[in-house]
């Protein structure tokens, strides 16, 4: 990572900390996900736990895989629109920072909090289940494949979503259209997650890892497309400073 990417990234995090909307979104959305996930798992009657464990575990995993997909697009929307609204986009573009450095910083700043929060949240989730859930529910929900999915697949999906979002933003001529289309960038991640969650691809640690590696490969290939599509002239003249 270049020095300039690091400088932009540090600034992004400093701004996040001072923005109640961002802090609220980062804290509120994952907590909401956690509560939605935990309530059925903790309240299911013991006699139904064995039969329902698999379905409930799949549902829980789906939510954990969605956090790093949904959260970055929300933060990225602020990151770009915030620059535009403050009029800081043009001053940023007049510095020696290259397109690649700016994009890299924005992408990491948007993706990293979601991934880290997902990992923390999963730790809390597993701890609560270990302490309070039926043993069958805990065994079905917290297992090797879940760790691989949350540890490897969720970051790859988060990066994919943010790259698609950046591609849409780079080519849209209207900021509102960009925002609306960016919301669609979560769809590929939702589709892949659903294939596992609903058993269309039989979940196993190896399969999760393979899919994570494949998506990471797609992420790497897409990154060069993202940087080529970014056109500072278009951003400046269509979106304004």
């Amino acid at each position: 990572m270049s020095h300039r990417t690091w400088v932009i990234l540090s600034k992004e995090f400093r701004e996040y900390r001072r923005n109640k909307l961002i802090v609220g979104t980062m804290a509120g959305l994952p907590l909401l996900f956690l509560v939605i996930t935990l309530v059925p798992l903790l309240t299911i009657p013991a006699e139904l736990a064995d039969r329902a464990a698999g379905a409930l575990a799949a549902q829980a995993l789906l939510l954990f895989l969605l956090i790093p997909v949904v959260l970055p697009t929300t933060i990225a929307a602020y990151s770009v629109i915030g620059e535009r609204e403050q009029g800081t986009l043009e001053p940023l573009l007049t510095t020696p920072a290259t397109d690649r450095e700016i994009l890299m910083a924005k992408a990491i700043a948007a993706t990293a909090p979601g991934i880290v929060l997902t990992w923390i949240l999963f730790g809390v989730f597993a701890t609560i289940l270990a302490a309070f859930a039926q043993p069958s529910i805990f065994r079905a929900t917290v297992k090797a494949e879940t760790f691989v999915a949350v540890g490897a697949l969720s970051p790859a999906l988060g990066v994919l979503a943010i790259e698609l979002s950046l591609m849409v933003s780079s080519r849209s001529s209207d900021i509102r259209v960009a925002q609306q289309l960016s919301a669609l960038s979560v769809l590929p991640a939702v589709a892949i997650t659903s294939l596992f969650a609903y058993g269309i691809i039989d979940p196993s640690p190896g399969r999760y890892l393979l899919v994570a590696i494949a998506i990471a490969g797609v992420d790497a290939a897409l990154w060069s497309v993202v940087t080529r599509l970014f056109d500072r002239e278009r951003v400046l003249t269509r979106y304004g400073g």
Binding site: R18, L93, T94, P96
Partner: protein, 310 residues
């Protein structure tokens, strides 16, 4: 030509609409150069092209001795500072943090950054405000902070786009004083404005533009270029002013407004005594005869009027 700006036939069009047409410029290192024009004259577009934010449609330019091309963008931007129309500060960050961020983007770190930030703040008289959150500053202070931001990279060339737009007279004065202090730093300043008194006070030379470049010169040259005038007031008016003014050597066109005549002359010192004698000989009661040098505003309005609507 390190530190200066040169452009030859610089043109930029947007979807067939020409914003800047065939502009030639030669700004010397250390010069404060005014770029005057009405709204929509292409001033901001010229700055954006020279700052490598927009590609020229045709023509060529050099900034700080480097040809303006997309490949040279980062290299040119390392040597320039740009004050955009909007101050563009991160409002939740302090003045210091805003400057630290931009210093980092110019590649500075550690002790060197702190020293640069302090020098930039001192240059605009804002050292005492360094810990204040940018969002709590007045408009004038924000604009001065933005000027300090453009200085942290210690640029060779500074582009200031309408630096006093939207500011009240007191805030405008603060910003103008900050720009005047830049002269001591030897920075080349390219100042776009439509405030003529600002250009006249700050600039070594000014260009007047209306999509095309209409003229370039020192403010005094531009005023003189429009010709000197004598203002005459005669009690009861003149019987045949046209014949009288044509009889004066070096006199040109004339106009009258509310009993006051203004006569364009080549040399006011030679024409004034002749005119006074002619008026008295014609039986006129001369009340006033004044050498009226056109203001930069009049020269500007003449040129813009001649150029017509774009």
């Amino acid at each position: 030509m390190s530190g200066g700006i040169r452009a030859i036939g610089l043109t930029r069009a947007f979807d067939g609409r020409v914003a800047v047409e065939g502009v030639d410029l030669d700004v010397a290192p250390g010069e404060i150069f005014g770029y005057l024009g009405p709204n929509g004259a292409g001033k901001t577009t010229t700055v954006r092209v020279l700052a490598t934010l927009l590609r020229p449609t045709s023509g060529a330019a050099e900034v700080a001795g480097i040809p303006v091309t997309p490949q040279n963008g980062p290299e040119i931007r390392r040597r320039i500072g740009v004050l955009t129309e909007n101050p563009g500060l991160y409002l939740k960050l302090s003045v210091h943090d805003n400057l630290q961020f931009f210093a980092g983007l110019y590649g500075y770190r550690g002790e060197a950054t702190t020293a640069r930030i302090m020098r930039a703040l001192e240059a605009v008289g804002l050292s005492e405000r360094r810990n204040q959150v940018a969002g709590t500053l007045s408009k004038g202070l924000r604009q001065r902070t933005a000027i300090a931001r453009t200085l942290v990279g210690e640029p060779q060339v500074l582009f200031l786009d309408e630096p006093t737009q939207g500011l009240d007279p007191a805030a405008s004065l603060e910003v103008r004083e900050a720009i005047e202090r830049l002269r001591e730093h030897g920075v080349t300043v390219f100042l776009t404005t439509h405030r003529l008194e600002e250009a006249e006070r700050l600039c070594d030379r000014v260009a007047i533009v209306s999509t095309r470049l209409l003229t370039v010169g020192t403010p005094a040259e531009l005023r003189a270029g429009r010709g000197a005038e004598l203002e005459v007031k005669v009690a009861g008016g003149l019987a045949d002013p046209d014949a009288l003014f044509r009889s004066i050597p070096g006199a040109g066109s004339w106009r009258t407004d509310d009993g006051v005549y203004r006569v364009r002359v080549e040399d006011p010192a030679a024409a004034a005594p002749a005119l006074a004698r002619a008026i008295v000989s014609a039986g006129g009661d001369l009340l006033r005869l004044t050498d009226v040098t056109p203001s930069l505003e009049e020269a500007y309005l003449d040129l813009i009027g001649e150029a017509g609507p774009e």
